[in-house]
Symmetry: C2
Subunit: 239 residues, 2 copies
């Protein structure tokens, strides 16, 4: 499985994904689930993916191919659409197409041949927007009422988000929240694994403001994780 | 759905269940999911159930009928078996029978015609034991390594248990842990709902040491829930 979480805050967007992919418990590998398309200052779009690797890689490749192909009009590519909504629709259509193709080949629509995406982006002059795109191609959008989106193993890390994240949360606190939400998931579910990919997009910059890979032995993450565990145990003892 | 959690601690056992039952989102009702069989000082067995109400109620009724029926030998009833393992086997067999009967009638083995149980008990002179009984009739047992069992919506409340519960946790701390684990689940999942049923069995007493229903407006539970939320937010801010 997977755990990916994205926050849509007034200050900008925070996205965090794990990297564990497995085909059965005895075939575990590491794959990046965070993909970035960027024309700094003009438009930035970041994707996180959950589900079948064969579907999500294929969709990302097709999006890139269209951008590189001079025969495809810019307004039909995610980096040239007049709005991010249209870009989300393009991704949804590609996702539905690829899911259907692969599923047809597999003879049935099984869980292993579908994928879902979180898409976060901003174009110059537009608002920052974040979408959860389902394998059928339809999508929902994050709003100030529910400023986060999750895909994959979302339940373990949800209670924390429900308690601390609002649209007014700062970008830095948002970073802390997604890391702690991921930490809870890592501890309780083996199918989610380090390293992690973190991307932050400050509102209005229309570029990746921060991007990092957090390795399993990252001292900052380990310290935060331990501090959180200790704080939880202390709070538990104090109640 | 449902959330039920049981702890098997050195000091005894703690069990907590919610009461929400739904057939679709527009048909929500309240049903007790905690059932107790008790011969104080001799033997106590408590069940928590998740899944189809028609299955779980039927199984509990059959267990009671066998106890009341003079034609059924005591050693074939859960209250008279030489060991709790045999009692768990009796429950597993009944559960598998009822699941199969109802599923056959429904023409297929669907999610709505199965159920699973947590069974916790102790007989005079024996150890306290706790089992997770699956709808197929097989079961697993809680051990000092993993001293808790969950059925239903178990993911939201698992990170807390993973962090604070060990076999050495006191009965009183165990009570706090299951209530906070339930609180996280209640906040993040609508299909789990108040009131709650709490049962505690102190090791060696072979009877229900404490049993209570916690209503939605219970001031103690509300205070604990708020204190925990505040503690989480404070800890989050402090890291």
């Amino acid at each position: 499985m997977t755990y990916c979480v994205g926050l849509l805050l007034k200050q900008g967007m925070v996205m965090l994904s794990d990297t564990r992919t497995n085909a059965g418990l005895d075939n575990i590998a590491m794959y990046r689930k965070m993909f970035v398309f960027e024309e700094p200052g003009e438009r930035v779009i970041a994707f996180m993916t959950a589900g079948s690797l064969s579907v999500s890689q294929n969709v990302i490749s097709r999006l890139q191919e269209d951008i590189d192909n001079p025969d495809v009009a810019p307004e039909n590519c995610i980096m040239g659409t007049p709005s991010l909504l249209t870009a989300a629709k393009i991704v949804g259509d590609k996702l539905a197409d690829v899911s259907t193709e692969i599923s047809t080949r597999m003879g049935r629509m099984s869980q292993n041949s579908t994928a879902s995406f979180i898409m976060a982006g901003q174009r110059k002059g537009g608002a920052a927007r974040m979408f959860h795109i389902y394998s059928e191609g339809n999508f929902i959008e994050a709003t100030p009422d529910t400023p986060y989106l999750q895909i994959g193993e979302h339940k373990y890390g949800k209670p924390l988000l429900d308690r601390v994240v609002t649209t007014d949360t700062s970008l830095e606190d948002g970073r802390k929240a997604v890391l702690l939400s991921m930490d809870s998931t890592l501890r309780s579910n083996l199918s989610v694994g380090m390293p992690l990919d973190l991307v932050m997009i400050r509102d209005g910059e229309c570029k990746i403001s921060h991007s990092s890979r957090i390795e399993a032995d990252d001292p900052g993450f380990r310290d935060m994780s331990e501090a959180w565990s200790n704080a939880l145990r202390d709070s538990f003892g104090a109640i």
